[in-house]
Amino acid sequence: MILGLYNYWIVVVLMMIGFYIVIAHGNLVKKIIGLTIFQTSVFIFYISIAKVNGGTAPIIAEGIQLYSNPLPHVLILTAIVVGIATTAVGLALAVRIKEAYGSIEEDEIQKKDNLDC
């Protein structure tokens, strides 16, 4: 049960680590790192469900009947691109926030915002 489904365990553990970092950390760059780990767990999930027992890489070759499902691989290529774009936008925002607020700590930014109001 536990060993047979080990790929899901890895996914869930990574997902929770990422999610926890996003929620618990006040540093904007750490939050983005958490977000990336969170997204990566989903990539692993997609790739691992594509595995067909006994199947090889989905390349047509003589004498091979059983292939892994290539569709999730393709899907996740798109999702990886999206993930990178998100990270890039997030980091760019963090840079701009650093320039504008002089800090990338959530509580300090919040404090400065409260002063503005």
Binding site: V22, V82, L93, I97
Partner: protein, 496 residues
Amino acid sequence: MLVHLPILQVIVPLMAAPLCLLIGRARLAWLFTLVVSALAFLISVLLLQQVMASGTIIYELGGWDAPWGIEYRIDELNALLLLIISAISTVVLMAAHTSIQQEISADRQTFFYVLYLLSLSGMLGIVATADAFNVFVFLEISSLSAYALIALGKDRRALWASYQYLIMGTIGATFILIGIGLMYQMTGTLNMEDLARRLPEVENTRTVFTAFTFVIVGICLKLALFPLHLWLPNAYAYAPSIVTAFFAATATKVAIYLLIRFTFSVFGLSFSFTAIPLQILFLTLGLAGIFVASTSAIYQQNVKHLFAYSSIAQIGYMIVGFSISSTTGLMATLLHVFNHALMKGALFLALAAVMYRIGSVQLNQFYGLGRQMPFTMAAIVIGGLSLIGVPLTVGFISKWYLILAAIEKGWWPVAVLILLGSMLAVVYVWRVVEAAYFKPPLAANETIKEAPLTFLIPIWILVIANIYFGIDTRLSIDVAQAASLGLFQGSHGVSP
């Protein structure tokens, strides 16, 4: 050409975005964007006509049969949403050049139009596609450009708001992605029609329950359903005014569409409403959203904040209509989607005009503006009346059907609570009206004149639409009714 309308709807703004970058000059880019958006509007009108005349349009991308290829599917619901998005986008764009000249520095104005077009095509794509994974891709196209658009705001708080929205939005989108993955794992398909056919065979497995929960929570994050709404007020308040007008009128509506599409068409009504106690959950959250957000709106000093909280409350009404889960209830939700787009479009454009003249939308800057900017303030009054739900405005129509649906179901307390919620709207709208009409003008604002015509024309197009569709309801009600009936008939399983 007519056969290809569904794909043209999405691809025209998508292709126009990089072209905009080549144009370079802000004024030309604006004209170009306006033309492209008007073209998208024209396409959506033709699509709606075609759907109402001859039923659902199915378009196979690249000629590949579904479920292998991606399929676009336009029924009444899709056509209505496409119309709302492209119409609001076009009207809002009319004022864009004047407004952003003041709010965005000259070297970034072209990028504004690029992002705007990307965001537009993302939203249109979410609505047009019938492929679950394609939904995710378009969702991220529209969201990523939305984060950048919000960050263009003048105030540094726009950056912080955009960052928070990015975190929440990405978590929401990733949840949807997980849900789609689990569905694919169980059924081996991504086509919504095909999913709807295959999910019932496996619907009693834990995987499908998990998929459903992930998708719903993900959508609710995008929807800004109370209590997942925290990203919305600041994002709307500090974004450039034009962006606020565009998003307030369209972005959350797209999420409402996704909610309806996934619960009714993909998972099916009987599964959706029994897997988790969705009805009571959404009813409670919707009503709580109405009261908490309306009360918060009353205490806001920044008028953009005020109407942003009001938007969260209006989402509450839509969710209440959805939770009633009868044809009338769903019709009320769809009508409110349409009507709320008109109200909030008008209100936020009027605020954009105030921002243009005064450079601030704090409530204490509104003193005496009723005399100095009579047309803009009149627009806010009519938009506000519509928000409250006064007869002869669109707001009345949707509230009427919502209360009708609640009474049909025998939910009297809900009907009473909806009316009470509208009373709260009276209070917050009155605060703006009081400041504008019953306070002496500020000395600093004495030279303020009426907003230029580039603002007044789009504002009043929307205001007149608010009144017109409040009196002649044929278009909105016909389409909403057809869409609602279609969803109930198309939904597999018996209604609860």
